[in-house]
Symmetry: D3
Subunit: 243 residues, 6 copies
């Protein structure tokens, strides 16, 4: 697989031009142009990088690459990460917001489908969906446990039933304020100090299913796309993180 | 106690004019001007408000009052909160960043002193302090448990000892990036998805002692100041929050 | 009438989403949800509010509600206004720029029609219209006196005739600079120190028909819309203001 | 008098470097460098300019010169004004905010002194002063009439007495909101639609003494300074304006 | 020719409303409204102005008129220029970016055509075009010398052939960074200190054909348009400038 | 020499904290911490880098390092440069504006001293100095030729003598506009299309002594400082550039 062809292919699917993000979406470090095996992951960090090298990958494709707009400066732990990438002639490719919000391959639509929710409507960087008939909160919790098997769920229950659900992966806890009278249940990836009180007063069930755990779906979908299109191998490297 | 005299007194001590904050520091809702009993707390929310009313307080003094700069609009759950405050003729007073960073009464300096750290130097909205001789991480952990009795501590240990510590209460996890080669240990009030990897690669012990739990100290100090100066009663209302 | 249905109805007609205004357009204070009688007015102030209460209104609909984007702070005379609204369980709804510029129900199009001007073209927040044949300034002044019966008109005459007229209600005096060679007559709602000299040098008749007086038309039109759609009673409360 | 020496002299006295104004303070159009007679006025406009030429002035010194920051463009009535200045080889010098707020020669301090108010403290672009003992509103009104002889005063009386007064010349009506509990009387140079209601609810006497009329004092003071320093003639050209 | 009709005519052709430029495009100084002869040039300066007057022109049409957004201030050498324009009752008209980038009359498309390049695609304020077959760099250089007869070309050769060329007139040297892997040759109008190294490492032939020399084409095209439409005389005044 | 000690030492001398620059001043790429030989140069580029490697340097100290504030992205020719630095374990240190304007070691003060100008006063990023008595332009030109031996000087002569001179290295040509009536001679490092006309109308001698050639002095001064302080070897690598 040629890394520039892969970048063009994903950029078009994810419509990266239309996003005002916190990082460059696409190739963040250019390595060898021809790639046989790709390490797929949520976050670029040293542990992930070491494992990718061990598994003979020439490229990393992640949701959290390198963030921020600053004057060029390569020092400290960041320089160590980048040095290792360059000395191993690897490519780092990152897709952030376009991967949260994509209507077919994104993190949130994937969770929505796994929970059998219907009629997805985009909201912020996620989606709102609903069940045809309301179900009990217990039944919903069981569904959640199947989708997020290894994740300890943080739950603030404020309704006995679930019908309309908003899902926004990652650090989305503050969005609950915009959901008043819109949904009965909100799945986020982080919890803030005010989340409990807001959820209670807005009468919305609040579930934190983990920043990491809500954001494994999108990159796995991209892996499949690249496998099919370019006949390349991929491996998901799970540096699990309870946050 | 007259609320305007109290506001003037605290504004001067906390030097509120020098801060660029996310809320108005001082009186956020003006109620009855004469106050006999004050409800002290971390966060203004309905549960706290109900308890303050029950305990016959005429004023609330909190760290997290009402945030944000928007066009005037009183609707939904926020309107309900404010309606209850107004109908009970209560005053709401809030102090945020000035209370985190104050060098005598602030949240962070208080934690620093309770941990017997020395030589406090302001850093961001908190402080860096040190022990004269390095101590073992186990000993430090025991100290922490005494300061934060009821709080489950989230710990990423990356050094066997502790000598130089940075303390920043609340949502400060991203500040770790600025601490490379500056400290061996960082106490924050929240954890981010990247905290574990950053702590490991920066070789810094990371402790999340809770957003709520790290921010109870400042308001309690203000309570004492008002009691002494104005001969008013105060009661700390503990709407505990594990976040 | 349900206040949220009324807000949705007016928001759509007035296309509030398309404006970058100085206040929130729509519900500014949420009161009782079911409303039988609405106080219609130009400006929300204590005198207007007292009269609305006296006349048993549950809602106020005004052109000048509460303006400005600031950190939340309810003190002083503003707190007194809002306290009275809340204790009387009333709703305050405000529509500002969308009501000046609306092409059917707005303040300016209404004045244009009453003056029998033709071919309205939007300009700034108002309209430019014309007569088929030019008329004498005296005839135009008589027309104006019929439209603004009780208002003392401030007039700087610089042409003997009137053919093409720009109308912008309220504080629009500075817009005259953009009208050079475009119109012979300008109707504004305020006068500035430079208005006399500008009008003279630009050779434009300048008429200040009053900020208040030029802005009574739009809210009256909304009153009719709500009466017809929701079968609710309305009363125009005229707290006249010579400015 | 050399125009550059005069500019240096006034710039220093008025500390123009410290202001963030809406125009260039100092020489706005450079004409003949040696000047024998100066036309002093509130506002630069064609009528003022014609009179200055008629009276054989080589320079105009005004409070309202040419405002605004735009791409260079000399067209229409502005070009006609400037053409006339250039063809008559005249200099235009303007001082705006520095002349409102100066503590010795400014518009507001001059009014304060003429009203025999004491203890001037800077506030916004004006001053707050007070009487030793409160006087009746009627007595104060008589004082005002002597200072602003030919000006029709717009008065909203909300207190029977006057003790503490804020004076801000020109278009300052919106500043009343900042004066709650600070003064009993406010002298402005313009009236807004909301001024009556604000004054009433804030319980402040509001007096509009005219934009033009409140701003004649500063330029006259500058005239005296130039006469004394440079032995130049000056004439105040009164293009009176009731606004 | 009436200057306002000419301005309307050119504004429409050049679509000036769609540009975010560094000057006002159109009439910058309004002079006599009827014009018989126009001085055409690259830059408005005293030498050009003197020649235009000598040749009895009533209007100047240039690429570089008066730039910048500042408070109004006519002093020094700029005042001298403008005074001379006004005293000779001349009009100054300027068109900047719209004239660089126009797809039929612009500076860059004109150069592209004269070099017989094909398939122009807009890039930045210029165009990219190509030859059907690559030609030798020597042949290309000969073509260039015919287009820019009197101009000393600055050349950094990094390829032996030329096939795909980007042309951006004027001060465009920094744009080379955006051309990596897009073209083999870049024609600019200025050279920066880094141009040589960038061209070498990007493997792009860099040619500086002069700021002045690359920007004579557009204004000449406008001259023809005005001659044909309005039957007016034009003369190109060549104040040559080796930069 | 330790690179962090060197950075601290230079940061203090050059007061880098006080500058709002276009790049990070200090270590831009962290390489081996202990350095024996430093390559000194004006600009970081591949040719310079190759020579630095060839001469066994472990660090490069330049005036033009890596500029710009963008999302992290290492691709194309920039990635090739950085890869080579990292693979050779080298450090890149850059000082830009602080080195132009330093009052003892800067580029401009150095030129001023070599020309025997007196009484240096900071102006923009350079200095204004003067001769006690004016000298002929020819004598001054001879002085210049000694300071800039190998540089072809671009000269626009507009005065027969030289007394007061402004020196601003690099791309400073537009600053001439601020020098009206302040100096008779201006030394810059670049020429713009308008420089000739401006110089002529402002009556200022304009000399472009080359961007590269005016900026070799500062880095050589830093080299001496590091040699003396840290006993390290330095070599000036002259990748001469006529611009």
């Amino acid at each position: 697989m040629n890394i520039f062809e892969a970048e063009n292919y994903l950029n078009k699917i994810l419509k990266v031009e239309t996003f005002n993000d916190f990082c460059h979406n696409g190739i963040q470090i250019e390595g060898t142009h021809e790639v046989k095996k790709i390490a797929i992951g949520v976050s670029f960090n040293e542990e992930f990088l070491n494992e990718a090298i061990k598994q003979n990958c020439q490229m990393m494709l992640v949701h959290h690459g390198i963030f921020g707009k600053n004057f060029f400066k390569l020092t400290g732990f960041q320089k160590k990460r980048i040095e290792k990438v360059i000395k191993n002639d690897m490519t780092l490719m990152g897709y952030h917001l376009p991967l949260d919000s994509h209507e077919e391959y994104g993190n949130n639509i994937s969770i929505l489908k796994k929970l059998n929710l219907l009629n997805p409507v985009p909201f912020n960087f996620g989606f709102i969906g609903n069940y045809e008939e309301k179900i009990s909160f217990e039944e919903f919790k069981n569904n959640l446990k199947k989708v997020f098997e290894n994740q300890e769920l943080k739950i603030y229950k404020n309704n006995d039933f679930v019908k309309k659900v908003c899902i926004i992966s990652g650090d989305s806890a503050n969005t609950i304020e915009l959901l008043e009278n819109k949904v009965d249940t909100f799945i986020s990836g982080e919890t803030k100090e005010y989340s409990k009180a807001y959820a209670q007063e807005l009468k919305i069930n609040f579930i934190n299913a983990g920043h990491y755990s809500t954001e494994t779906f999108g990159v796995k979908n991209l892996a499949k796309l690249l496998e099919e299109k370019f006949n390349v191998k991929t491996v998901f490297i799970d540096i699990y993180n309870e946050i």
